[in-house]
């Protein structure tokens, strides 16, 4: 009998747990540890944040789903990993802090760290829902954003002008795509509520060019040319009268303005009445201890608290970045029975080219690891573990982001007949200039298109992925 413990029940952790349960024998155990009692289909938080969905439509309780499928669920925070056990017992275990109080040792034979990100609002003074800006990272944050939007709309109906600022709240943020979805949905919603003429909307981003999305942008064939994605994003903003600020690091958020630095070193301000700014991420801050009790956190984790896996972490200039730097199995180099999946694994470096202001401020997006790649990595790790439980000496499956494509549908307005969304596919996620000279990607598999069809697909994905996450009959047939 083997014990598989999965830390985290987000897209990656939940996928890993579901497939591990499916592929392991009944006498093997699968345990999920998560501080949150519900599953959240995060891509749809955008619609909660503009008041089009309730939190209950993007979440469901995990305990009944896990109980029905033979997965043990512990609502708790993972605090420390003891990969060599302790002086009394060499069996590895994780220390968790239960939501109901108290701590517990959870022994494991295989461990998957899928803890996702810690939202680092603290990295920018005044950033976050407990200070001066809003977020849509959790359903609770999205509800707060929706209420603030309702208030702003009321003021506009009374004749006041409102200034909206949407984007990222730090120079090293990732998830620009989510903020992008929010700003275009916000604009659509203001039109739908008949107050668009009273709103000034500004997008603020750390991207060097619009449409970078932390992937170094992408190219696609359009109208007889190969065009960059900034053209695509820029046209969406221009037609919707959304202003934009690129290459910006937000250094402080006050009640009615942000202070930001741009790549030329200039310090600027932007006033707002409503600001939705996403935070930068780090790992959740797990610690690791050797059998003698010494701290080995540095062996398992990078300084940003993301877990080290089979990537090449050698510091090197971007000229020497290679697709081979990216992890394939997500196995810890320190302990063969520990894996990291989804946002929790430490990427070897960025995908977008790095830029630094004269004062030394890094202003460049971190690489995205959300959505489809996250789920695919969770599934791959589960397969490898299932095979290792059956006797394989090493991971059997790989899922490198340099060999994997991604499909993304970014909502740009939710309505069954007048809504639109940007549908994009990219292959591979990490550009490979040796295989695809000039653009780094296969243009037969990389495309983008805006239209109502994208909105239908977004709706379809919302229902399909929630069905799959509920582990309803046939769930495993639905792709990641």
């Amino acid at each position: 009998m083997s014990r598989v413990v999965i830390l985290g029940a987000g897209i990656s952790g939940h996928t890993a747990a579901a497939f591990a349960r499916k592929w392991l024998a009944r006498n093997d155990s699968v345990t999920v540890v998560s501080p949150v009692e519900y599953y959240n289909w995060i891509p749809s938080n955008i619609w909660v944040g503009v008041g089009l969905m309730r939190p209950g439509q993007v979440t469901f309780p995990l305990a009944p789903v896990y109980a029905r499928n033979g997965i043990e669920f512990k609502q708790a925070w993972a605090r420390a990993i003891h990969p060599e056990g302790d002086a009394g017992d060499p069996a590895p275990y994780v220390v968790i802090e239960r939501a109901s109080g108290g701590t517990e040792k959870v022994p494991y034979d295989f461990l998957v760290n899928a803890t996702g990100p810690r939202l680092r609002f603290d990295k920018t003074e005044g950033l976050g829902p407990e200070a001066n800006s809003l977020s849509v990272c959790t359903p609770e944050h999205a509800v707060q954003a929706s209420a603030a939007l309702d208030e702003a709309v009321e003021r506009m109906r009374r004749g006041e002008r409102q200034r909206f600022l949407v984007g990222v709240g730090h120079g090293t943020c990732t998830c620009e795509g989510a903020a992008f979805e929010y700003v275009v949905n916000l604009e659509f919603e203001l039109r739908a509520r008949g107050v668009r003429d009273k709103a000034d909307i500004t997008w603020i981003t750390n991207e060097y060019e619009l449409g970078d999305f932390g992937m170094g942008g992408m190219h696609m064939r359009r109208g007889g040319y190969v065009v960059p994605s900034n053209l695509f994003t820029e046209s969406l903003f221009a037609e919707r009268d959304i202003d934009w600020i690129t290459r910006a690091h937000v250094s402080q958020v006050e009640q009615d303005r942000v202070h930001y630095e741009t790549l030329d070193g200039a310090q600027r301000e932007q006033e707002f009445d409503f600001a939705m700014l996403l935070p930068p991420f780090s790992g959740v801050g797990l610690h690791a201890y050797a059998r003698d009790g010494s701290d080995i956190t540095g062996q398992l984790f990078q300084p940003n608290d993301f877990m080290r896996v089979d990537a090449d972490y050698t510091a090197k200039p971007c000229e020497q970045w290679s697709p081979g730097d990216w992890p394939r199995t997500y196995q810890s180099p320190a302990y063969a029975n520990i894996f990291a999946a989804g946002i929790a694994f430490a990427p070897p470096h960025a995908i977008s080219l790095p830029h630094t202001s004269p004062s030394g401020t890094v202003i460049a997006p971190a690489p995205p690891r959300t959505g489809m790649p996250s789920a695919e990595i969770g599934k791959t790790v589960a397969r490898s573990i299932a095979d290792m439980v059956r006797g394989s000496g090493q991971p059997t499956r790989t899922a490198s982001m340099a060999e994997m494509g991604a499909a993304c549908v970014a909502s740009a307005g939710a309505h069954l007949l007048t809504g639109t969304a940007a549908s994009m596919t990219v292959y591979p996620i990490v550009p490979d200039f040796a295989r695809y000279p000039l653009y780094g990607r296969d243009l037969d598999y990389t495309f983008g298109e805006i239209g109502l069809a994208g909105h239908w697909i977004k709706i379809l994905l919302h229902h399909m992925f929630l069905y799959k996450a509920r582990l309803r009959p046939g769930w495993a047939l639905i792709p990641e």
Partner: protein, 72 residues
């Protein structure tokens, strides 16, 4: 041997565009920028024209399935 202007020589990552010199970014006002690409009326019409979008719905889904298959 590639010449000095060949992509291999320009490129920091065997084909990627060289990083542009660092520069700042001022706010771009959408309503007054003459350089932004904008969709034509025909493009805007097609975006929500249901028969065309039904066709695109099928095509985009097929493209996404191809990506998923290739990723495996």
């Amino acid at each position: 041997m590639p010449g000095p202007d060949s992509p291999a020589d320009r490129s920091p990552r065997s084909g990627a565009a060289a990083p542009a010199p660092e520069s700042g970014s001022v706010k771009v006002t959408a309503s007054s920028t003459p350089y932004a690409t904008r969709p034509t009326r025909w493009t805007l019409f097609l975006r929500t024209f249901v028969p065309w979008q039904l066709w695109r719905f099928a095509r985009i889904n097929l493209k996404m399935i191809r990506i998923i298959r290739r990723s495996r």
